[in-house]
Symmetry: C2
Subunit: 387 residues, 2 copies
DNA sequence: CTGTTAGCGCGTTCAT
DNA sequence: ATGAACGCGCTAACAG
């Protein structure tokens, strides 16, 4: 395979160019280009000579850089994340979305360029060539980056990203999903519930959820899910998870179960955990421990369950726990988690299709938001209160 | 922010180019280029005028495509995987490697272009611009792709990939690690052991491990780990996992524990499970069930444990189980797995450094392979046989 | 210090 | 059916 001196002007190390092939085949560059791209009309003999020449020289095809410049297109779609690479992919829900995205882009379609940490360093986004960008799981920290993308005239698709001018939005009805889940708990008779939220913004800190922090949440999915819960449990105390992970859920769950969530919701009086209607004072009776915890992701929920079990609490007998996402728990837990299942893969596919559409007609205005819905999965981690 | 008619020749939709900025600042293209790239010498007043012009026009910086062509460099490093995207990143060990790779490339460094499924479609690799490629977890199915990369004169770094001419290899001492683990089991008195292998090649099928299949294994880590085991248990029966996942491990574990591994290792006689020295016939006594299972990844091991527990077997009392990788079990299991810990992150970083080195001096020959070592973690999933 | 010139490698007109 | 010429947007040489 490695015949070195076959070619005509076989320079020691240079890459074979189209012009080399053309020269060897005795045709012009343009003819060779037409033949190799399959499109152009050419006599059978010419075609064959070009193909032979290419094979003999080991032509690797056109240089993607040059082709990209010429065609104004690089065949690359950027996946922009606020988080670091590891954090972004650790949650199966994001992987599922990426899988869907790859699918939606199709087989011969563009490849994915991963641009993590865009919030910290917006400039990363202007140094690489790509034809479209997909924002996944971003908060408003991404807005600077967005401005750059707009200047580059790059179509932008937002997967649960902040709505902004010209961004094709793929959304999830987080509000309704979270509300339904909270409703489910209330129907089961729970009044003292705790919340474990997703990270509020790009600041990955954990701690008690204060009204101020809650109001300042920047990530759409975080604040939407919180809004949904608030429609049912306006005063429930909460804890902010530092990430959507089991470990973070464990920490947060431990905090809530040990009563540390208290400071978050009350000002100065002794009331610690809210109930939904009677006011925070009525339930000051036997226990201040929540009877249910709404975790804003499945991974977090698993961590919460672990924290509960470690404290000798049985789920769901002593504590009901709900998740969010409906990830296929590849053996992550023995529990059949009550959760809202979201069509992550379909969301990714929709994003892929949106990319292709934007590429096909760059002049077209951003399409209307696409809204995906969640479905309640009644698992075995929720039960009637005080059972 | 969106003053539209400020610029001179503000064409309706065109992207602002360097020449627009230069014209507005009243300087030549090259001067503007020098100023914007920070490098060139320029008078303070000129510099300021150029910067002002760029700001006023909303110049987004040089077009990465054009810059890439001109400089012969795109600022992109490809991560090439044999598997589909989801399969490749589901295993935390690969994520850790990616994390390390991103680190090793440094902050202002190249971005990562994900190219999954390269074995199925080698051409994917020739359509996108990148300056170097990292092969992660590939078998020989990648060789066609490799040939293309060679033709493109792209430096290639192999992370546990097949050794080949010009590929900078980052290796792991899988053989020694697997041997040590097997040795550990033998020292504990285990004779009847079963093996659950990683997938043998790009064919993601599961089933009993036959000598023919074993000999035909194409993925380096798979066959090396198998080789290591064979130095201690030459005849142990095995089952091929369809992936490095808990689910696949569960299936394989179930198969071995139910005695289905049998056909794999024997020809026609009744002997089912091998012991290491006395030959397959001696142990036909009470039970043919293995007393220990060597799983070739931690995820697989967790699946095996689950299968065992479901059958009423206690780990490690009734069955010892070992893993491989030493992933941080973010709450994946309650067990403290006995396993070989590999420095996945460091491997990724080494790959990153190798990329930078290759980029710094493209003429340099491929460096010698870098070998990383595993360390035995004696967890709580192995115990003395027959205890 | 600044402007002029010349490509990077390719695809695509427009002639022939 | 084929070849010649041009330019995508930028930067690296050289002149001035």
């Amino acid at each position: 395979m490695s015949e070195t001196a076959t070619g005509g002007a076989s320079g020691r190390d240079a890459r074979i160019r189209l012009s080399d092939v053309a020269a060897r085949a005795g045709v012009s560059n343009s003819t060779a280009s037409l033949v190799l791209n399959g499109s152009g009309p050419a006599s059978a003999s010419t075609r064959q000579r070009v193909l032979d020449a290419a094979a003999e020289l080991g032509y690797a095809g056109p240089d993607p850089r040059a082709r990209g410049l010429r065609q104004g297109r690089s065949g690359i779609v950027a996946v922009v994340t606020e988080d670091a690479l590891g954090d972004a992919f650790r949650d199966p829900i994001n992987l599922a979305q990426l899988d869907g995205l790859a699918d939606g882009l199709g087989d011969g379609g563009p490849s994915l360029l991963i641009i993590p940490g865009a919030a910290d360093d917006p400039a990363r986004v202007s140094s690489s060539p790509f034809d479209a960008a997909v924002l996944v799981g971003c908060g408003v920290g991404i807005l600077d980056t967005l401005e750059l993308l707009r200047r580059r005239r790059v179509p932008v698709i937002g997967l649960e990203a902040p709505h902004a001018d010209g961004v094709a939005a793929i959304d999830l009805d987080n509000v309704e999903g979270a509300r339904a889940l909270a409703e489910h708990l209330r129907e089961l008779g729970h009044h003292r519930v705790g919340i474990v939220t997703l990270p509020l913004g790009s600041r990955r800190t954990s701690g008690p959820l204060t009204p101020e922090l809650e109001a300042a949440a920047t990530a759409p999915s975080t604040s939407e899910r919180l809004d949904g819960v608030r429609q049912v449990f306006p005063d429930a105390p909460g804890w902010i998870a530092s990430a959507s992970s089991i470990a973070a859920g464990y920490e947060a769950g431990a905090a809530l179960l040990d009563g540390r969530g208290a400071e978050g919701v009350t000002d100065a009086d002794g009331a610690t955990l809210a109930d939904d209607a009677t006011g925070a004072d009525g339930a000051k009776a036997a226990s201040t421990r929540p009877t249910a915890i709404l975790a804003q992701s499945d991974l977090i929920a698993i961590g919460v369950i672990r924290a509960a079990e470690e404290r000798g609490l049985r789920v769901p007998d002593d504590l009901s726990v709900t998740g969010f996402d409906g990830i296929r728990v590849d053996g992550l837990t023995d529990h059949d988690l009550t959760t809202m299942v979201q069509p992550a893969r379909a969301k990714g596919e929709a994003a892929g299709r949106a990319v292709l559409a934007a590429l096909a007609d760059p002049e077209a205005p951003a399409p209307d938001p696409v809204l995906f819905r969640t479905t309640l999965h009644r698992g075995a981690t929720t039960a009637r209160a005080g059972a």
